[in-house]
Symmetry: C2
Subunit: 296 residues, 2 copies
Amino acid sequence: MSLSLNQRTTRRWSVAQAVDGCVRHGLEAIGLWREEVAEQGLAASARLVRAAGLRVSSLCRGGFLTGAPSRTASSTASRAPSRATSGGPSRAALDDNRRAIDEAAELGAACLVLVVGGLPGVVPGEPLAGFSRDLAGARERVAEALAVLAPYAGERNVRLALEPLHPLYCPDRAVVSTLGQAIDLALPYPVEQVGVVVDTFHVWWDPQVFEQIARAGERIASYQVCDYLHPLPADVLLGRGMMGDGVIDFPPITRAVLAAGYTGDVEVEIFNAEVWAADPDDVVATMKRRYADVVS
Amino acid sequence: MSLSLNQRTTRRWSVAQAVDGCVRHGLEAIGLWREEVAEQGLAASARLVRAAGLRVSSLCRGGFLTGAPSRTASSTASRAPSRATSGGPSRAALDDNRRAIDEAAELGAACLVLVVGGLPGVVPGEPLAGFSRDLAGARERVAEALAVLAPYAGERNVRLALEPLHPLYCPDRAVVSTLGQAIDLALPYPVEQVGVVVDTFHVWWDPQVFEQIARAGERIASYQVCDYLHPLPADVLLGRGMMGDGVIDFPPITRAVLAAGYTGDVEVEIFNAEVWAADPDDVVATMKRRYADVVS
């Protein structure tokens, strides 16, 4: 396994700057984000990483497949979960994910990370309004979307990587909440078409994590590391910390991922106001040191 | 099933006031807290609930069995989880839990809720310092403590109720994070000695929740309801909302608990700044209405 910089860890850097940063710090791989790739230009981004000899350990992200809320869904009554949202994932969401797959193919990314989406109509950071409480339905919609997207990805040699998110984000970001659940969703498809992400922040607490990492085996498409801070900041999305700054005991998880047969890169993905405010070169240097001291 | 007021929902009320409130609003049961019971006096509290003809649906809470941190535990290095904390639960924690069991017996409580504790030395709301990252060890310590406390509870006809808490609270409050894990810990003991709590806030996101509620069967010692707010407030402990104000679809969970054979009370336990600021009589009235509309 070797270290990869997820570019959102050094958020101020463009794709070009992040590629240069990786080379300067002797990293062999980078995780890219679609928004930054679009700013740089897709073809230009692909040229930059190739010219630098970097692997693209992942492209973040596709997903948000759980659909829009029904206009009739009440925000206070939960008796009748909306059926208006049960007609499968929206065409717009599928189209966007097909574009993401095309981008991953052009970038030669090892996988396209899928953050599947939360309850229909629940918006991160915004008060509840016009949403659906039909969690089971939202989870079905993810399975339906995969049935459409997996073959499309397979034809383009792109591997989809389902990311279970910490249950904290179940309302607004991902109704896939455990590694076991992600594996269940991936199982119907060839291992090279649909894999799973093991991200320490999301799975460290799970009593089944070691058993599920072993079960995932070759399905592990990406291993991402960052720490779980305590206390969490007011914006819980920014609770991801530099390895060693939080509560996670990394070595047992790293050993389990290795034992499962994972040979890919280890991506460091940190969303954190202090990290983002720091000099990106210092962040990469700290990341390398902490990876050696705390993770590997 | 009938509705019970957990007294922390009406936090300003003493035991005497909460007992009066339950009677005034036609409730048959109350959930008590040890701190408020101590303020009122244990014997006086027992007399008050008996004179009012109320059931005590639970006493909150015992637990915090995962031990103190080792003084040598580093806050930044995770290589060597402290072994100094692995000598079993502390004598002080066990003594306190024996007192809690005695109190539950005197109050005639249906169960003593156990919030098992987080990583040794991690303090709610406080920055990390001198703690242990040994999650597996903390979980073992809970099992060791149960082996001591379950027989003690059994001799006094008190039922321990293991409460899995949302994974959000794994660092500081409960290393028991799923219903399945709580059942596993309870299984070695007679069903009347160790049960589990199903609290909607803590379990609603769990892909296995329906399967685990069915598996729990007679082990369900308490069913607690409140909603999961979105977005969460800055103090995540106060993310519990009035039923209908958050994202939880209650009826499927309530039906599953009923189908599992649960015939006890349904306790409403809300930690929420706005609810605590409101007139307690209004809160109880709203709770009754929402219970009828949204939960049952």
